[in-house]
Subunit: 285 residues, 2 copies
């Protein structure tokens, strides 16, 4: 059986590694517009061969669309146009409403399964791909009833077999959820990194004596702008609302500090401590 990975980056490449472990007889075909990515994907053994998109679509039983979300919206209708009957395309995009809308009007909508694995790192590209990224993590499937039962079953089988825990949501629920638990934390991290860099420039000092706590909080600031700009744009209503909520809380925290209202400051923190419950949920799943 042939599977194509369209966009052999962190997610696509890591999925390829997880598939190879379970299915040694799979033939994996990579599609990537970057010649460097093509070479690294082959050298790393993520895929067996690189093909042009059109050719890959004729060969593959399952196509995994793992490009940035703006490319997904452009490519998805073209892929549905071209794939033979009975074949499947799934995406790995971090937004779901815009992507699902791009497929909904298509006569071959049933051949598409909308997927989002809840896993990532601040690194991107095939060089960043690693086997452990996906096994054990949550994965969300949206609008499952719009997918043909065979396409859905095929995708679910592969996701379960590589060790992922499947959850189902509407695209709207997904995008709201993700704005708060993923997109916002990327923005908070980018802005934190930039705040320190601007201050460092003004002070002409090198702020490189941070602790491991800072390192953990700002890690996502190394993430790819090309990947994240279209995610924030496609999910702009939810992201803007989440960011507004966040800025409001920061302003209230700042007021408590400025007015030396330690009781209020402690209360904010004590309430925030309950996040341990959600983090526990992540670790358990």
């Amino acid at each position: 059986m042939v599977i194509s990975i369209i966009g052999v980056g962190l997610l696509g490449g890591s999925f390829a590694l997880a598939l190879r472990e379970k299915y040694p007889n799979l033939h994996l075909v990579g599609v990537d517009q970057s010649v460097v990515n093509q070479k690294i994907a082959l050298a790393k053994g993520l895929v067996d061969e690189i093909l042009p998109l059109e050719e890959a679509l004729q060969r593959a039983e399952l196509n995994v669309l793992a490009t940035p979300v703006d490319s997904i919206c452009t490519l998805l209708p073209q892929i549905l146009d071209q794939i033979p009957a009975g074949r499947t395309v799934m995406d790995f995009g971090s937004t779901k409403e815009t992507i699902c809308q791009a497929a909904d009007a298509h006569p071959k909508r049933g051949q598409f399964v909308a997927v989002h694995p809840m896993a990532g790192t601040e690194n991107s590209g095939p060089g960043a791909a690693f086997f452990e990224l996906l096994p054990g993590k949550n994965v969300i499937i949206c609008d499952r009833r719009k997918s043909h039962p065979d396409s859905l079953a095929l995708v679910e089988a592969f996701l379960r077999d590589v060790g992922m825990k499947i959850h189902y949501m509407t695209p709207a629920e997904h995008d709201l959820h993700l704005a708060y638990v993923s997109h916002l934390s990327h923005i908070s991290s980018f802005a934190l990194g930039l705040t320190v860099l601007v201050k460092e420039k003004d002070e002409k000092a090198i702020f490189d004596m941070a602790s491991t706590g800072f390192s953990s909080t700002v890690r996502l600031a190394k993430s790819s702008p090309a990947m994240w700009a279209p995610i924030f744009d496609q999910n702009k209503e939810n992201v803007s609302k989440a960011l507004g909520d966040y800025i409001d809380l920061l302003n209230r925290f700042k007021d408590a500090i400025d007015t030396q209202d330690l009781a209020q400051s402690r209360e904010f923190m004590a309430k925030a401590n309950d996040i341990g419950r959600i983090l526990g949920g992540i670790e358990k799943k």
Copy 2:
């Protein structure tokens, strides 16, 4: 030789573990107002015995003051009042201007060494102490010329021996630096956690399907309010300025998203990517 650990929590307890490894003949005395902490510190072998503060001060050659920063300011002058000539007290507080001011007017100022290890986790108390916390990390000594050369040399010897890398700063430089690379990242994390929790409550959904990226960014939101409220208060000018800078950047990021200015959004992120340089500095040190 006797060393007292006043406040046997994460930092004090981890320092005790690191000292034990290098100096098997040290006698470690713990002082803690919490009976539970006393029991855990003894059961975990962090210290050899628990004593009242006054008695510990008469016995110890070196006193390590590792309580929250508000207690440090109260205890430090009392400790200097009581310790015999030739003995030393060092602190582990995350602020330095207020703490150094609390000692500056004291006739025995020379017996105090102002120290801040750049290490921590979101956990607190003696149960959270672990051997690896301090070795290999940076530590800042402030106003070293105000310390007696013998007291300074003793403290430096212990810090170096447990594997820490010593840096020297003024208290003002320290507090400015820390506002940006530690205190701000704690506030950003507390506010991020709270934003998600408030939304979860409003939506009556459980937002527990976050990815590892969120987990890393929000980890510090589990930190102790009793420890952090006085830190933010003692460093309020710098923290307020840092937080103001951060909120300004977030507002500009939000504007870029709201107006769909993807070029601006990408530029923010591309600039923030340079934080990798600072993170690299942390890992190298």
